[in-house]
């Protein structure tokens, strides 16, 4: 894709939660959200905790619903609006067009680390031998010791699990990569490794949308910062 082509266009997005177990209490999250992410740039969502940054990432990924507005992603088959797409279309985006490094690894019992990392590449149809090589390279780069590769990550430390999670999120070839605090529980060496990986993705023309609480990392990777507190219209009105 050409630089400056948006891979993600968010327009007038609004989201609130209705808590039926608490008498139908409505909690506004964001309203009037609009921004683009173009190929080759890293847009960082800014704002304090509770401003709705993680919720926005989840709306793009599709595991949070959207009350209003559109979230258009440029897939090879044309634009797909995650806000209104059928589940099947969202699943297809997740296989080939967008990736997600969540805050925590959702551990699948009994699956070896190497297989956990390879899975998104295999789902894209990557040759297993190539996927294996890529997984090994990523785990090496992220300093996950080779003796752990054949073990399920369930018993690893928080930092090790997070690095497995990053490798898993980075392995597929996608146009849009969502990052939710990927460096939260990492030491300086591994933070630097993640920054290098992000730079490589940018250079490869991937559009990135991320949340980074660590100001140093944020300043190092961000092409632009979108302040989410500006999208709290519904909260002010509520």
């Amino acid at each position: 894709m050409n630089p400056a082509d948006p891979v993600l266009e968010v327009r007038d997005v609004a989201k609130s939660f209705t808590m039926h177990l608490r008498g139908g209490l409505t909690i506004p999250v964001v309203a009037g959200v609009g921004f683009d992410v173009c190929a080759g740039e890293c847009v960082v969502l800014g704002g304090p905790s509770g401003a709705g940054k993680s919720s926005l990432l989840k709306m793009v990924w599709g595991n949070y619903g959207v009350d209003a507005g559109s979230i258009r992603i440029a897939s090879p088959d044309g634009p797909v609006d995650v806000a209104t797409a059928e589940p099947r279309a969202v699943l297809k985006l997740r296989r080939g067009t967008m990736g997600y490094v969540s805050q925590f690894l959702r551990v699948v019992p009994r699956v070896a680390t190497l297989d956990v990392v390879m899975e998104p590449a295999l789902a894209q149809g990557t040759d297993p031998a190539v996927a294996r090589e890529r997984a090994q390279a990523l785990l090496t780069r992220l300093n996950v010791p080779e003796r752990l590769w054949s073990l399920p990550p369930a018993t690893f430390s928080g930092g090790e699990q997070q690095r497995v999670n990053i490798a898993r999120g980075m392995i597929a070839e996608v146009r849009l990569l969502l990052l939710d605090e990927p460096t939260a529980s990492l030491d300086a060496t591994n933070r630097a490794a993640v920054i290098e990986l992000i730079d490589a993705k940018k250079a490869a023309g991937v559009g990135l949308l991320g949340i980074f609480h660590d100001a140093d990392v944020r300043d190092r990777v961000a092409t632009r910062i979108v302040d989410v507190t500006g999208f709290a219209g519904a909260r002010a009105a509520a």
């Binding site: 039926h20 589940p87 969202v90 699943l91 019992p109 009994r110």
Partner: protein, 259 residues
């Protein structure tokens, strides 16, 4: 395009037992490679739905249309008993919660798997036994136990044997009714991992009924939440579980015990 045509399509399915509602207004479709979870508590109508989908119970209204291997589509209601039985032996699988309902307990493990092959015309003893042994291995049962009866097996092994028996004929659609119910947690994890791999490797379409939301999350892409005989919420599995809209779904999600 047959690749994207539904394999099974349910439209407006309803079942009444006299005045009592089994389920109503259920519509969805499923394609090869997709796993659909149907969740809800006892009495929600999910078992009634599964029985209608698998042609074991005639609907009071609505239809279930299935695409056969030759590409033609048929309403299950129009199939003869012989045709329906043939589907069940070849193109469909049914994994019961209680393995005793899906296995022949008086027949050896190898016999349980081989029997289904013979039902589709396999006659060569050596080949049947070799294929049965291969499937025991794939479901992680020690092949040296091929001549033992399932009565000698643990609950988890019986469930894996039931899966081997169902999958040996390479079906395209598998129904599962609480496949991990009644198993110890560690045994459940092993079975779920096995099911995930087999489903992905074989490109199966699966309709899995479960009351366990963790099982639904691990196995399925899409989910339908049933209550009082109706589908009250449906969508991507992680959307429904991470951002439940309906009061009842919120209650279900909020009721999960976190370890």
């Amino acid at each position: 395009m047959t690749a994207t045509a539904p394999l099974l399509e349910a439209r407006g399915l309803a079942k009444w037992y006299g005045d009592r509602l089994g389920c109503r207004d259920v519509s969805f479709d499923i394609r090869e490679g997709e796993v659909l979870a149907v969740v809800g508590e006892s009495g929600s109508g999910k078992s009634t739905l599964l029985s209608m989908l698998s042609g074991r119970l005639a609907p009071s209204a609505g239809s279930v249309v299935y695409r056969l291997r030759d590409g033609s589509t048929r309403d299950l209601a129009d199939l003869s008993e012989a045709e329906r039985r043939h589907l069940f032996r070849t193109d469909w699988g049914f994994v019961h919660q209680d393995a005793r309902d899906g296995l022949r307990m008086g027949v050896s493990a190898g016999g349980n798997v081989g029997e289904r092959l013979m039902a589709v015309g396999a006659r060569h003893y050596g080949e049947i036994r070799a294929k049965a042994a291969d499937w025991l291995d794939r479901v992680e049962i020690d092949v040296s136990r091929i001549d033992e009866k399932p009565t000698a097996f643990s609950g988890g092994m019986r469930q894996r044997l039931q899966i081997a028996r169902n999958l040996v004929t390479a079906p395209r659609l598998v129904f599962m009714d609480e496949p991990t119910g009644g198993l110890d947690v560690s045994v459940q994890a092993r079975l779920l991992d096995l099911l995930r791999r087999l489903v992905a490797d074989m490109g199966l379409a699966v309709v899995v009924v479960t009351h366990d939301l963790a099982v639904a999350r691990l196995l399925s892409d899409r989910i339908m939440v049933m209550r009082g005989g109706r589908v009250i919420e449906a969508g991507l599995t992680d959307r429904v579980l991470d951002d439940p809209r309906e009061a009842y779904t919120q209650l279900l999600v909020a009721s999960i015990l976190q370890p």
